[in-house]
Point group: D2
Chain length 386, copies 4
C-alpha cells in the first residue's frame, strides 16, 4: 500500500461545512459589489452550496445564519436533502439590530440582554427543526473608545447571558463561542482571544466549546499552537476557515499562506482532531471580487490538499529527528510533506470515486453558473444584512 | 511674556479642515447605525460643520467629496460663506462604481481609466467653482489574491493617469496623493506606503504632494519619522487626522494614542509645517457610535491641545540634552511638554477671543443638536455611498 | 478633603519591586555597551537599588535572579536591610546553559528536565533564606523552525515539570508563570500567551498565578483587557512593567505609550489589584543607553504618576456616562483623569513625607553616581549572563 | 523542449552570495550557543562557504564583514580562489564600537562622524584589494526614547556622510544602503524603510542603490510590492535573504513563508532582476540552533527551488486571466506554479551537471563536518562581535 493509499480513508471521511452567506454578496465598508446569479433566498443559497458538494464530495452540510436565513425550516431541510446536502450549524446574529449598538449579551440594559438571549433561544428552537447540533455565537460586542465601556462588568454579564442560553441546550447540542481580535469594535472586544473564549466556555460546562476562526488573531500569532492547546484542553469545537494578509480579510482559505494551513492541519492530525465528531470544519469567507461557487470549490479543495499533505507527514522520521535534536532534519521531513504535489493523486482518487478529477473544470462546464445568471433576475440579492 | 503667551499667535493661526462626510452616517461592513439629525444633503453637512467652527474657531473650511456632495456649487459656496465657513479640498471617489471593481486609474481597460481620469477632471472643474486649491486622491485600488493583478503594469498606468490629471491642474491648484497600507484591497494596494506616494508625486512635479493619513500605516510604524522625512523632502501636502488601535479604525484623532499625536506635532513644528501654506491639516474620521458634531469638536480640540503642548516644548533645553547625549534629560524635557495640562490656559485664552471657554459645553447648550434631531425627519440620511 | 487627598493613602501604600539585573549592563544581540559605575556583584546591585527607594519611597524590595545573584543569601539579606530594602521575588534561569539549547522544563530528555526542575527547587530553597514569597518562572523555551519540536508533547511535559516544582512550594510561597509572545524562540514559544499561562497555572492550584509582562504581547493587543480578565479569574499574580514600540523593547515603563499605562492602572484599580497582596508590581527593563539608577527612578515615578491619575478618575461620572451610552462623555471623563498633571501635587505630598520633592534631582545632586563611577573600577561588570 | 528545459539556462546562471558571518556563532541577547567546528578566522569561514558552493554550484562568492574579517586580503583572496570561490560584497560595521552608542554617520559629534566615514573609506580600500564591487551599509543608528535624538538633523547629517563616502567610490563600485524597521534602536531608526533608503540613494547618484533585507519590514508588509517598485525605479541593488515569523528573526530563507519567497521571485523575474548584474542575491541569516554549513546549503536550495517555480509560471495564461478580470483563474495559474514540486527535476538536472543530486546528503556524507569538529579545537570561535 502506497503512502497515499494509507490516507484515503481519512480523505474520504473529510467533511467541510459551507456557510450559506458565502453565496450572497459581501464587501467592505467602502462598497459591496453585486454579481449576476447571486441567490435571493435561503433556498437558492442551498442549491448553490449543493453544487460544491456535487463536484467535490467534500461539503455535505450548510451552515445557516439567523435571521438572514429565516424561512420554513422544515421545507428548507427537505430542500437541502433533495439537493444532496444537510443543514448544519446555526449562527446567531446580534450585530445588525439598532438595539445592539452598545452590546447585546453584555449590554448594560437587562432588556437588551434579554432580547439577545431570546434570539439565541429562538436559534436553539430552529436547531431542533433543522437537526443541527451546534449553536455558533460570534459576538461583535465591544467599544471604540477607552472609558466607553466597563469591560469587567461586561465580562460578568456575558457569563450570565451565556449561562442562560447554555441551560436551554438540548442533550446533543453544543454552544460554540467564537473569538475575534478586533472589528467591528476598535478599542476593546468582549471575546478577543482564545483565552477569553476558553475561560468563558470552561465556566459553562462540557457542551460549550471554542470556535477558532483562522483570521481572528493578532499579527504574527502562531495559530497552530492554539489549535494544539485547545485540542489538548478538550475545547476545540470548530474551525472557521479563511485566510488573511492583514486583518480579518476573509479570503479563500489557504490563499494567503498555504504553509500556515498545512501547519494547522498537522496539529489537527497530531491532536486527534481530524474527522473527530468533536471538531467541526467550516468555511467562513467573503468572495468580494471572485465568483462565489467557484470560490467555495477552490476553498474546500485547498483544505483537502493540505489535509492530504499533513497526513503524508512521515511522523516516525519526524519524531526521530525531534528526539535527537536534529533541527534541519526535522524541518526537512516536515517540509517534504508540505512540498509534495498531491494534486495528481487526488485527481485520480476522486475519479475512482465517481467524482470529477477536476471539480473546478466540471463546475465551469456544467452550465450551472450560466443558468443562475440568466434565471436569477429581479428580487433582492442576498448579502450581509439581508 | 509667559511661555503660553508666546505661542498664542501660532494657536490663533491654526486651521483644521473638516470632512463633509464626517457628518453623515458611517460604520463597518457589518452595520451602519443611523442617528437622529443626520444631514440629508451637502447643505445640511455644511451647516453642521459651521457649528464646529462657531464654537472652536478652529475649522474655517470644509472638504467636499465628489460625487457625494454634488450640487450647485455656486449656491453651496454662498451657503458656506453665510454660515461663516469656506469650501476646501475636493476629494475624488473611484471606489463606489461597479466599473472600478478591478481598479480605476490603474485598470487594465483604457476605457475605465479614461472614466476615472474624467472624474478627476470634473473635480478640477468643481475646484474652480468652489475656490478650492487641493484635489485629494485616495485610491482604493489593489487586488485580493496573488496573481490577480500585474502590480508593475498598474504602477506604470497609475503614473500615466496621474500625469494626465496633473497636466490639467490650474496654476494654484495641487494634486495630493494619499497612501494606505491596506483595505479595501487585501493582498496588494497600488499606493500602500509613503515611498510609493512620494515616488509617484516626485515624478509629476512641484504641484503634486503627499497626503499622510495617520491611520494608514503598518503596525508599529513611526509616523512622526515620516512626517519629518516628507517635510525634509518638501512633499508633505496634507494630513488626514484620525486615530487607531488596530487598522484604519478612523477614530477621533488623539483618542487612541495621545502621545503619538504630540510627537507628530512636534515634528510638524520642527520641520516648519505648522501654519505653513504647504501643509493642510484635515480630519478624516468616522463617528460610528458617537455623535458627529461633538465628535468633530472633540477632534479639533485634541489637535489644538497637542499643538499647544508641542509649541511649549523647551527646544533649547532639548537640544542641549541631545547634544550632550543625556538620554534621560532629553526625554524628560520632551515629556515635560507632553505632561503639561494646557486646558485651563486654552480655555482662558479662548474666552478672551470671544469664543466659549468650553466649546463642547457651549455646543451642547446651544440647542442645535435638539433642533436638527427634530427637524431632519424623512429623506435619506447622508453616509458613505450617498 | 480634595480629590488628591483622598488618594494619598493608596499612594503611600504603593510598592514597586526593582529587578537586580536592571543595574547591570544590558543590550541587544548586536552590542552591549558598558557604563561607568556598573555593579560587579549582587551587593553593589542592592546598594544601587536602595538609592531608588531612598529618593522615591516607592521601591522597598529587590528581585533576585539565580544564578546571576548567587552568593551568601543570609549576608545579602542583612546587607539589603542595612540599606533599607528587602529581598523579593526569586527569578529562575533556564536559558543560559548549553544543556537548555532545545528546552528545559519541556526538553525531550528527562535528564535535562530534571536539571531544570532541580534548579527551581534550589530557588525555592533560596526563597526560604531570603524570605521571598514568589518564584517567578520565565521560560525561553520554544523552537525556531516548523517541525523542529513536538509542541503538544512539550506542553504536557511542561505541566509535569511545573507540578513537580509546585508540590515543593512552602505554604506561603507562590509559583508565578510568565508568558511571552516570542524571543528568543522565533517559531513557537511554549508559553506564548496569557491563555496558556492561565491554563497551566489553573491546572496546578491556588498557589500558581500568572505574571503579565507589559512588553510580551502581539502588536495591537489590548493589555488592560487581559489585566481585567486575569483579575476577574483570580490569577493575576504580578506585573513586569516596561514599555515597547515594536517587540520586547524593555524600555522604561510609560515611555512608549503613557496612555496605555494609565489604562492598565485604571483596570488594576477597577479590579481590586492595587495594593493587593495578590498582585505584585515589578519592573523588568533594560537600560541599554541611559543611566541605570536614574532610569529606575524615572520608572517608579512614571508608575506612581499614572497610578495617581487612575485613582483620580471620577468613577461615578464615568459609570453614569457608560450606563447612558454617552460615548463622548464617558471618554471625556476618562481622558480628564489622564490629562491631569499630577506632578506638582505629588511633589508637594512627597516633600510632606520627608522625601525629596524631585527625586531625580535629589539623586543627581547626591554624589552617589560620581562615587560609584570613581570607585567601581576593575572587576567584571554585571550584566545579562553574569 | 519541456517547460523545465526552458528555464535551465536561467537556473545555471543563478548565483547567491554567502555571508562570512553565517558560519560563525550567533544568537539572541539572551544567549549565544557555541557549536563544534565553528571557524576561528576568515580563512576557515571561506573554507566552509566553499563547501556550500561545491555541493550546490549556487554560491560562488562570499561577503566579508569589516572589521570581523580583517586580515591580509591578498592572501584571503588567493585562499578563496583556491577553494573555488571569490570574495564579494564588503559590509561595514558601525554598531560595535563604544563611540557609536548614539550614532555613527548621523552622530552629533563631527569627530565620531569622521571616524565612521573613515571606516567606510577603509572598506573602499579593501574592496580594491578583494576585487569587490559593492559596499553595503547597514546602519544600526537610531534612538530609544522620544526626544533623545533630533531625527531631522540626523537625516541631514546622514546625507552629508553618505555623500562623502559616495564620492570616494571607484568607477565600478556601488554604495548599497540597507533599511530596517527597528532593532537595535527601539524608538526611531535612521533608515527604517525603503522610502528613506530610496530618497537617500537617489540624492547621491547612479552608483547608490537600495538593499532589501526580507526580514526588515513591519508586520504585514507586502515585500514583493517593494521589489516591484524598486526594480521599476531602477534602485534595487541587492537582496539580503532570510525569513521571519515575528521581527528580524534571521531564519533560513523560505522557512517561515515559502509562498512569500515565491511571490518575491516572481516579481524579480517580472521586473528583469533575475541574473541581472544590477541585483545581487545574498543571504543574511543566523543559524542559532541549527548547523551552519547545512543551514546555508538548505538556504541556497530554497532560493533555487522557488526561482524554478517562479520561472515555470505560465505568464501568458496569467496575463490572459488578469486582462479578463478572472480572479480565480489568475490565482490558479499563479498557484499552479507554486504547487509544482520541482525537486525531482532539479535533482536530475544537477546530476547532469556533475553536481550531487542531493547536495545536503552529499555534504553530510563528505566527512567535512566531522573533520572540522575534530580539528577546530582551541582558539576563539568566530561570531557576531568577533
Amino acid at each position: 500500500m502506497t503512502a497515499f493509499e494509507q490516507i484515503t480513508d481519512d480523505l474520504a471521511a473529510q467533511a467541510i461545512e459551507l456557510p450559506s452567506w458565502a453565496f450572497g454578496n459581501s464587501g467592505t465598508r467602502f462598497k459591496v459589489f453585486g454579481t449576476p446569479g447571486t441567490p435571493r433566498d435561503p433556498f437558492e443559497k442551498i442549491a448553490d452550496a449543493a453544487q460544491v458538494h456535487r463536484h467535490t464530495g467534500l461539503a455535505p452540510t450548510v451552515a445557516l445564519h439567523i435571521p438572514w436565513d429565516r424561512c420554513d425550516f422544515a421545507v428548507l431541510r427537505a430542500h437541502a436533502e433533495e439537493n444532496g446536502v444537510r443543514l448544519g450549524t446555526v449562527n446567531s446574529n446580534t450585530f445588525q439590530d439598532d438595539d445592539y449598538k452598545f452590546g447585546a449579551l453584555t449590554h448594560e440594559d437587562p432588556g437588551v440582554r434579554k432580547k439577545a438571549i431570546d434570539h439565541h433561544l429562538e436559534c436553539i428552537g430552529i436547531m431542533h427543526e433543522t437537526g443541527s447540533r451546534d449553536l455558533k455565537i460570534w459576538l461583535a460586542e465591544g467599544s471604540n473608545y477607552p472609558g466607553q465601556a466597563d469591560m469587567r462588568g461586561r465580562q460578568d454579564r456575558l457569563h450570565e447571558s451565556l449561562r442562560t442560553i447554555y441551560e436551554r441546550l438540548g442533550d446533543d447540542q453544543r454552544l460554540v463561542l467564537e473569538y475575534k481580535f478586533f472589528e467591528p469594535a476598535f478599542y476593546h472586544t468582549d471575546v478577543p482571544d482564545w483565552g477569553t473564549s476558553y475561560a468563558q466556555v470552561a465556566a459553562l460546562g462540557d457542551k460549550a466549546v471554542v470556535c477558532l476562526d483562522t483570521g481572528h488573531h493578532a499579527p504574527g500569532t502562531n495559530i497552530e499552537f492554539i489549535v494544539m492547546q485547545l485540542l489538548r484542553l478538550g475545547k476545540l469545537g470548530s474551525f472557521d476557515f479563511n485566510s488573511r494578509f492583514y486583518a480579518d480579510d476573509d479570503l479563500i482559505v489557504g490563499a494567503a499562506d498555504p504553509f500556515q494551513l498545512f501547519r494547522i492541519l498537522v496539529e489537527v492530525v497530531r491532536g486527534g482532531g481530524l474527522n473527530s465528531p468533536d471538531v467541526a470544519f467550516m468555511l467562513d469567507q467573503c468572495h468580494n471580487v471572485e465568483k462565489k461557487i467557484p470560490g467555495q470549490i477552490r476553498s474546500v479543495l485547498n483544505v483537502q490538499e493540505m489535509t492530504a499533505r499533513a497526513l503524508l507527514l512521515d511522523t516516525e522520521a519526524l519524531r526521530a529527528a525531534q528526539v535527537s535534536g536534529d533541527v534541519l532534519e526535522a524541518n526537512a521531513v516536515f517540509m517534504d510533506a508540505f512540498q509534495t504535489d498531491v494534486r495528481p493523486l487526488l485527481a485520480e482518487w476522486r475519479a475512482g470515486r465517481g467524482l470529477p478529477a477536476d471539480p473546478m473544470r466540471a463546475y465551469l462546464d456544467s452550465g450551472y453558473q450560466e443558468a443562475i445568471e440568466a434565471e436569477r433576475v429581479g428580487g433582492v440579492q442576498a448579502g450581509w444584512g439581508a
